[in-house]
Symmetry: C2
Subunit: 309 residues, 2 copies
């Protein structure tokens, strides 16, 4: 319809951003989700259905899911790590699921207590179960660059898991730089292999732990990738590195694209508002540089704040 | 000689990084410079010869310059803003100068009390003076994207100033995103125009104020740009935005390139050491994400620190 290029940003703050934080009340999460919806984002990964002992801050997944009818225009999804989570999510009415498979045994065992192959073998039954109720399953290949336990992930392994995921019934794919070590060269390599192996352009889930996130996103855009995960303020972090950055920041990603002439649908000023809201609720300074700078120049977007002195 | 692609990083921490900070003793600067030399970097912008009232933290430019013979393999340069600074720098024995021209009247008047055209008119006499003693003059076109006073900078103006600088005897060019508002799309546009107008591939001076710095550097690399300014730890900042990031961080830039298979000559572990040193001396937390994360994965460089748990 339009000649203006566009990308699709999925907000993952309520899930990936909050998962390592101290729990906040469900009402505060709903207020956060409401602020996110106001940014114009149309896809939000809203929680995960995983063990409440492992991730206490997302123990209220059912309570959050029960309220999602408030925002009818938004596509909500939830992360799952196994069949138990799938059942919970479907029972709670969530129909778009992200199932994570780690591309290393070390991370898979640490994260879900299963080998990588055992996790891959679950894709087909999960897809079947999700499709029975008309749902949509995205498989996220995590640890797609480096594993904190096993070292570098062979890129051909990522492509192989992606191919097997599609063969097992996945509806969509994403590639995740779970610990934030990817760089543009390796991002290009891994994504090219995944596209070649599957014919699918995966989404990309990036962390900014070593400052590389936006450069990776730009390199991926140059390859034709159009779906990106992000969280306002760069919410989240790494449990192993205090003060480390979390996901790439929604407002920085949106500014990169919008100012480069690529539509995101995100209102940057409202993304900053949502970042400030969750920063206040958590009592924690977020790591987004754009948030610290206070805004973007006026000409780049009508709703952006000015830093003119 | 080699098929391995490479880039050339100029460390600007002692100049751009320190200029807005409280003054530190000359001895501490020399210790910092020594730590920078140990990173393997071969070009350092070491100070500026400007008004000590305007920039008190660089008032010791002559004292710093007098000690540079300690490090014979390194190419030191200094920034100047007018003929008085040129005379001081040459008298102090510095032979590589960067002369800054703002691409807006508002910034030019605020920064040096001259119009943009008056600053451009000084290029020819400065080049003549520098060349009389066998020196080298780089002209940096500052405010190449947006001006905090005048709004967006027309990209054709940047190209025009670059062309006039080369016509006036400049030996090299750089383009500076002084306030950190550039994005990959506009970086590509401005650099393409400068290259088309001059036949010269300029260096690129980036700030990470809105998180875009490395994405811009990657976009510029894709255009054939091979010279980049950076400062360890992302030292520096914006006087108008407390807590805002400064220059792109040397260690993040080096990691981006090295891990992508592009040689920088920078030892990332030693760059982190230099960042920690200056952070201690300033009593200030720096904004580099890689510094907060504590290092890069082992496989990316033999001297890099590990974050394996």
């Amino acid at each position: 319809m339009s000649a203006v290029p566009q990308v699709d940003i999925r907000e993952v703050g309520p899930r990936d951003g909050l998962q390592i934080e101290e729990p906040i009340p469900t009402a505060a999460k709903l207020e956060f989700i409401d602020a996110l919806v106001a940014t114009g984002v149309r896809r939000i990964e809203v929680t995960s259905f995983v063990s409440p002992r492992a991730i206490p801050s997302l123990a209220d997944a059912e309570a959050v899911a029960a309220e999602l009818g408030r925002w009818p225009g938004v596509e909500f999804s939830a992360l799952v790590a196994g069949m138990g989570g799938v059942s919970r999510a479907l029972t709670a009415g969530v129909r778009r699921l992200e199932y994570v498979v780690s591309a290393s045994d070390g991370h898979s065992r640490a994260n879900v207590g299963r080998s990588m192959e055992e996790s891959i073998a679950l894709i087909a039954p999960i897809a079947e179960r999700v499709h029975e109720v008309g749902g949509h399953l995205e498989v996220i290949v995590a640890i797609a660059f480096d594993c904190p336990f096993d070292g570098p992930t062979p890129p051909e392994r990522v492509a192989d898991i992606a191919r097997r995921a599609m063969d097992s019934g996945a509806d969509a794919l994403a590639v995740a730089d779970t610990i934030g070590t990817a760089t543009p060269g390796r991002t290009t390599d891994v994504l090219t292999r995944v596209i070649d192996a599957t014919g699918v352009k995966p989404g990309l889930h990036l962390h900014n732990t070593r400052g590389q996130g936006l450069a990776n996103a730009w390199a991926a855009y140059s390859l034709g990738i159009r779906q990106f995960d992000a969280s306002v303020g760069g919410l989240g972090g790494c449990p192993f590195a205090p003060g480390a950055s979390g996901n790439i920041a929604t407002e920085e990603l949106a500014y990169m694209f919008e100012d480069s002439g690529i539509t995101t649908g995100i209102d940057i000023g409202r993304a900053l508002d949502a970042a400030r809201l969750v920063s206040d609720r958590l009592g924690k300074r977020l790591t987004s540089n754009l948030l610290a700078a206070g805004g973007v120049p006026v000409p780049s977007g009508s709703s952006a704040t000015s830093d003119a002195t």
